[in-house]
């Protein structure tokens, strides 16, 4: 069946039909504006407009309101028609409306008046367009009002204006210099910070090629590069550059470029300049300082070695010649003479030990190596190998629990274990076989630095059943040259724990001890499991 055949069209439900089923059609002479837009049409128009419409006469009495107006007022038309604003509004408001009306009557020109209006409990902003109504002779017979709710529109506009003000302030107050240029390199806009940075006023920059900020050596290459960016639509998002300005000043900048694209308009380039001269200067100073420190460290290390070597020489002579005297003239000296000689030689030997320990102490930081993974269990096994003779001699038992692997300097860990285990064996109770227990566990330490987060730490304990010490001496035992016992009781230079503590601190850890006299001692060492690169460099 042909879809356009009359039978189908006839059966369509949407087209108007007369009572007998024939389609209604408009006669040609009826479809002119003059005939279609008749009174009835205008009435319908006014009444069905979504905008509130009202008519007032010259007395400002309401002649007509449409449905939309009735809804806005919240009243029926019959309650409003014939009344004036004075019947409907507070006196001061009505007076204003009347004044507006009079203006329209006398000026015979439409006016757009913005007002606020409360509708259903909400504040709306409306625009009332009041236009004079003229009779056939052009005389004013009243006015027509149309109300447009511009609340959303105004809010949007206000919002935009507020945002624009904020942005403008951001632009102006920014500490970074900002510049907008076009394809040809002409400056469109700059902020105060930029002017300050380059030492030029706004007027000297806007509308000119951006190359005016440089000295004459730069221009052609820079301009070409600028244009290239636009052609290739390619910019480096962030880079550092030292620029030589028109006044000869050299400044280090951090630069950021991005395209400002608006559809239908020319693309512009936004350049943001950050003056990093201070930072560069500080970096340079830091480099200088670091290399000076390294140099100083090396010198100190060399000095320490040479000093210890040269200090050892005379001590060696004392020992050797002491031996010669004893060998050649021992019988002539007698017991007392030999005893004096012995004491002299022992003193020299002590001094040699002290010098060696001092050298070790200074080398903890001056000769440090990079941190690597160190298996502490293996270190302890090696140390026990070194101390084998002493362990056997004293009949000692050393129990080693599970020990972790941590990032550290292998040699230092060796020294640390050697010292702690050595001490545990040394300070034994007379007649009691030494028992030493090593334990460790890992835990997480909350740090103040957000960057580091919770840090994994290893706690190491070395406990013994030896003579112990009074905890009131806790600070002393870690100090250089400090001893709690006389030379006759225990040998030693008083440096062991000082060296150990320096090692622990070098590894950013802590060391302490718990003890009671006669009840053994427990030394507690806490060390980070891992180190950041910067920590190692310090």
């Amino acid at each position: 069946m042909d879809p356009c055949s009359p039978s189908i069209c006839d059966q369509s439900p949407t087209l108007p039909k007369s009572a007998d089923g024939t389609l209604l059609k408009t006669a040609p002479e009826q479809t002119t504006p003059a005939t279609m837009l008749n009174d009835q049409a205008y009435r319908v128009l006014a009444d069905t407009l979504p905008q509130p419409v009202f008519f007032k006469n010259l007395e400002s009495s309401i002649v007509y309101i449409n449905s939309a107006m009735a809804i806005m007022f919240g009243r029926k038309p019959e309650d409003v028609v014939g009344k004036t604003d004075f019947d409907l509004f507070p006196k001061d408001v009505a007076e204003k409306y009347r004044a507006d009306d009079l203006r329209v009557f006398t000026d015979r020109k439409p006016e757009r008046i913005q007002e606020s209006f409360e509708f259903k409990g909400r504040k709306r902003v409306i625009e009332v367009v009041k236009s004079p109504v003229l009779d056939a002779n052009g005389g004013v017979i009243g006015l027509m009002g149309v109300i447009i709710d511009i609340t959303e529109h105004k809010e949007a506009l206000d919002g935009m204006q507020k945002f624009e003000r904020e942005l403008r302030q951001v632009w102006e107050d920014s500490l970074d210099g900002m510049r907008i240029t076009d394809e040809e390199g002409i400056v469109i806009r700059v902020n105060s910070a930029f002017c300050r940075m380059v030492g030029k006023q706004q007027e000297e920059l806007v509308g000119k090629p951006f190359t005016v900020i440089y000295d004459s050596a730069h221009p052609p290459a820079i301009l070409a590069k600028h244009k290239k960016r636009f052609i290739e639509r390619n910019v480096e998002p962030l880079f550092e550059r030292e620029l030589q300005l028109w006044n000869g000043e050299r400044v280090w900048f951090e630069l950021s470029n991005s395209f400002l694209e608006v559809p239908g308009e020319a693309t512009h380039l936004l350049s943001i300049f950050r003056d990093i001269s201070e930072r560069k200067h500080a970096e340079e100073k830091l480099r200088e300082f670091t290399s000076r420190l390294e140099r100083s460290n090396r010198e100190l290390q060399d000095f320490a070695y040479v000093a210890s070597h040269d200090l050892q020489e005379p001590l060696r002579k004392i020992s050797v010649f002491g031996d010669r005297v004893k060998a050649k003239y021992g019988d002539k000296l007698g017991a007392e003479g030999c005893d004096y000689l012995d004491r002299m030689q022992k003193a020299a030997t002590r001094m040699q030990a002290l010098i060696n320990d001092l050298l070790t102490f200074s080398r903890v930081t001056s000769k440090s190596q990079p941190f690597v993974k160190v298996d502490l269990a293996k270190v302890v096994r090696d140390v026990m190998g070194d101390l084998e003779a002493r362990i056997e001699q004293t009949g000692a038992t050393i129990d080693v629990g599970s020990l972790p692997t941590i990032e550290a300097e292998p040699l230092h860990m060796r020294q640390l274990m050697q010292n702690l285990i050595g001490n545990a064996l040394k300070f034994q109770k007379p007649g009691v076989k030494p028992y030493v227990r090593l334990d460790a566990f890992l835990f997480k330490e909350e740090t103040a630095e957000i960057r580091a987060g919770a840090r994994e730490m290893a706690q190491l304990t070395v406990s013994d059943n030896g003579i112990g010490f009074d905890e009131k001496y806790l600070d002393r035992i870690f100090q250089v040259f400090q001893r709690l016992h006389s030379r006759a009781e225990f040998e030693g230079t008083g440096m062991g724990l000082a060296i150990t503590r320096k090692i622990v601190e070098h590894h950013k850890g802590q060391i302490t001890a718990k003890s009671k006299p006669g009840e053994g001692a427990t030394f507690i060492v806490i060390l980070p499991v891992q180190h950041t690169k910067t920590e190692q460099e310090l």
Binding site: H309, E313, R316, K317, V320, F321, D323, R324, A327
Partner: protein, 155 residues
């Protein structure tokens, strides 16, 4: 009894700036019955003068030169390293074996002196007894076991 292939002349020359070390060495040589075969000099300059028959040694007979040089490294005016270099550069002197006897244990010193052609590097013993032992061994090694080059004339 140590063989003296060159007759009753000095066979060992020792350069050391430290008077104590020279004294100890002299005593050690005495214990080894080598005291008459050793001459001591105080620094590298004197050593070269002696070997070249210069300065205060100008009157010494040209032949023969010492058969062994014991050399300390750290000496004033001219140290052991410089002397070593000079001797090994001199065609008339470079055949004489040189044994460095020094307090330095520095790896750098050991490497450098072997680079310069030293025959042996010995760190000075700490006790007198071990010094005596070392000298005994040196004597036996260089004069009984080793074949020395024939006697040299001074340059």
């Amino acid at each position: 009894m140590i063989m003296k292939p060159h007759g009753k002349s000095i066979t060992i020359i020792m350069a050391d700036d430290d008077p104590d070390d020279r004294e100890l060495a002299r005593e050690a040589f005495e214990e080894c019955r080598l005291a008459n075969d050793v001459h001591f000099v105080e620094d590298g300059e004197e050593l070269i003068d002696y070997l070249c028959r210069r300065g205060k040694y100008i009157d010494l007979p040209e032949a023969p030169l010492p058969a062994l040089i014991l050399l300390d490294l750290n000496m004033p005016r001219k140290d052991g390293r410089e002397a070593l270099k000079e001797i090994k550069a001199n065609p008339d002197l470079r055949r004489i074996p040189i044994v460095v006897l020094t307090t330095s244990k520095a790896e750098e010193d050991i490497l450098r002196t072997y680079d310069l052609g030293v025959n042996s590097y010995i760190t000075k013993p700490v006790t007198f007894e071990s010094l005596v032992d070392t000298i005994k061994v040196l004597g036996k090694y260089w004069f009984e076991i080793v074949e020395l080059p024939p006697a040299e004339n001074a340059p």
